[in-house]
Symmetry: C2
Subunit: 110 residues, 2 copies
């Protein structure tokens, strides 16, 4: 394992909201895209993803709808208005987080 899961745990919401902000996707596709785009740094298991998506839907950040594609039923997820807001907030937090870490790792420079 290249990167300890412990480190990347908390960023799942940000990643998923971001991917869905570009286009509607279904669960399995999200896992593939995460792995592909991150060069396998983010490998979410199905046992994590699906309950996670349901929770995001409960929070109103995403909305799901079934769609037939290649003769196969898939459950697509769409980012809601509220989800877009949450994404913005998460991106701002990510920025604060990495800058704080840069200050600690980089040295005294503040």
């Amino acid at each position: 394992m290249k990167v300890d899961k412990e480190l990347t745990k908390g960023s799942h919401e940000l990643i998923i909201l971001k991917l869905l902000s570009r286009q509607d996707m279904y669960g399995y596709q999200l896992i593939q895209q995460m792995s592909l785009l991150s060069d396998d740094v983010f490998c979410m298991s199905q046992g994590s993803l699906y309950p996670f998506l349901h929770a995001l839907e409960d929070k109103g950040y995403i909305q799901s709808y079934p769609q037939l594609e290649n003769g196969r039923e898939r459950r697509f997820y769409h980012l809601t208005q509220s989800g877009h807001k949450a994404l913005e907030d998460k991106e701002r937090q990510w920025d604060l987080y990495t800058r704080a870490m840069a200050r600690i790792l980089g040295g005294i420079a503040k």
Copy 2:
């Protein structure tokens, strides 16, 4: 709360090892330094820190020793050789992590 704890959870080990790589510190001081340097992004509670330090010592990354300072007994922690190796590894992982996230947040650029 500026930054969701969920996001910053996994980075405690990196931060503590890094701070101890500069100088030996005691627990209470570590908490203060984390808050100060990170502008309150990293606020570790005592209930998290002390068990965490004990675990790091069990892993052999740090070594503790008591020291009297200002007439007050404090338990200082020192980064071991093995701890330095772990720190290097964690820093490399942090780099991979942020670059992977940058690819996802930034867009298609790979």
